[in-house]
Symmetry: C3
């Protein structure tokens, strides 16, 4: 299972780095700013997971090649982002993929450490949501994670719950982790494509 | 003392979760967004305290029921916030209570680990102020902690100082922690109710 | 080398604390707010470095006098900032000095722990950039670190790279660390004074 978890961490880092670089392009940063934001987004969630679980060393300190992957993704975006028809749409969809992969990576690590179910779920959510949250807070945008009514934290929660359930009923790691990624991605993609949403709090005018 | 500290952590989590959910209601999030912001606010300060003090595991990983409390508080607020006359006033007063309880929890933990006085004071302030700071930064509001002239960090500082002083002169844990909570709450409440404040820096026009 | 590293940490704390207090003066905070922001800025980057490297205890918990230095700097600024002709220019230049010293402190600590080159570089950048980033995010300003095209993260990167290179070719710690500080400061100062910059991403109108 540990090779699989490593591959998931690499995939999450790569895709989140692409989203960080796209946000950098929208904020018109220079190439080092691209790399900085790509690295922050790519390793932010997993770093928080490792610090909370007291995993030592943190995954990208154990294997600095994670940072090389993120920096390479940033450089790629710096020179090719102008080819995209809509950088914002690319950002949304890459972010959805990154969310699905990172939730799976986070839940998988917690499962491999035999953490109880609530901690597995939280670690999936932390790994999936926190990198993007840091990215958005640092550039001063409203975090995607808090977009009203969209399934985002909800998708992460449901995916991690699927992982816990699959593991509980004795599925193999492959199926457990695939279920997690699939549930997360389907919910998030459905929200982006078909407008699936939860009712928002709106019983009174806001900000009073 | 450790049962008392655990109770304080639960109380701080509950009240801070209520404030996080109220902020979520003002930002018109959905129910999962309520739970997310409630959990972040509820455990943010204590988590930072535990990471800084290298306490393992972090308090809510040792007892995931903390998160259940925070999520329950979020659900409660989601369905009842419309009954409040002013959500903003409720937020301010709950936040004052949460501050007093959390400063006490933070200082108490540091005292129980025999940390030196400056670290006890800082841990009280970190535990009290950082959860609310994260809540406000994430939703993009000016942090309550930085409201000009209001006693907030000051109240936390004075409360933690009271705890250190009481412990130094040999008071029991009950009295030490009660003094901390009382001093923090009185100063913060006095600032909200009677406008007690410190002079702000205003020798020249701002932002030049 | 460890006395030298301790001195660098003290210098970085002092200068970053001055920048935090200057930002507090621009946000018209009270004296406790000055101290809070000064401490956050002063120890933010180094704390993250220590948590990531699992150094225990965190540097300012091992020696709380760091916080006394930061608080003293805050008080000094509270009573003297009105004497400055331009607080913003003072902020920029102090921040440049703090960056140079803190990058050096971060890279030096990682070198002393025999970390591989990429981690040394990252720790230099984290220690140098993250305290100022936290300062700016908390008060809701655009982070200096993300100013379009200015050499900031770039200066930190180049300085840390210089440290790694000097160490690799067998220079003494003094020369290694001096090279790091000099490269960082020259690039950042050149960017402030002469407008040295990297090209920014601007192939299409922003925010589309």
């Amino acid at each position: 299972m540990s090779a699989l978890l490593l591959a998931l961490d690499y995939a999450a880092v790569l895709i989140f780095a692409l989203t960080g670089a796209l946000v950098a392009s929208r904020a018109q940063l220079d190439i080092v700013g691209f790399a900085f934001l790509a690295c922050l987004t790519a390793v932010g969630g997993g770093t928080l997971r490792d610090v909370l679980l007291d995993r030592n060393p943190v995954f990208w300190i154990a294997a600095p090649s994670f940072l090389a992957v993120a920096a390479a993704a940033a450089i790629l975006v710096f020179f090719t982002a102008h080819l995209l028809e809509s950088r914002y749409r690319a950002l949304l969809w890459l972010d959805a993929c990154a969310l699905a992969v990172a939730v799976t990576a986070g839940a998988g690590v917690a499962l491999s450490l035999n953490q109880p179910a609530p901690i597995v779920i939280i670690m999936g959510m932390v790994t999936g949501c926190m990198g993007g949250l840091m990215r958005d807070v640092v550039v001063g945008e409203v975090p995607l994670v808090l977009k009203q009514g969209e399934l985002y934290v909800t998708a992460a929660f449901a995916g991690a719950l699927a992982a816990v359930t699959a593991e509980r009923i004795g599925e193999t790691p492959w199926i457990t982790l695939s279920a997690c990624a699939a549930v997360t991605l389907i919910l998030r993609a459905g929200s982006l494509r078909f407008g699936w949403r939860l009712p928002v709090y709106r019983s009174r005018p806001p900000r009073t």
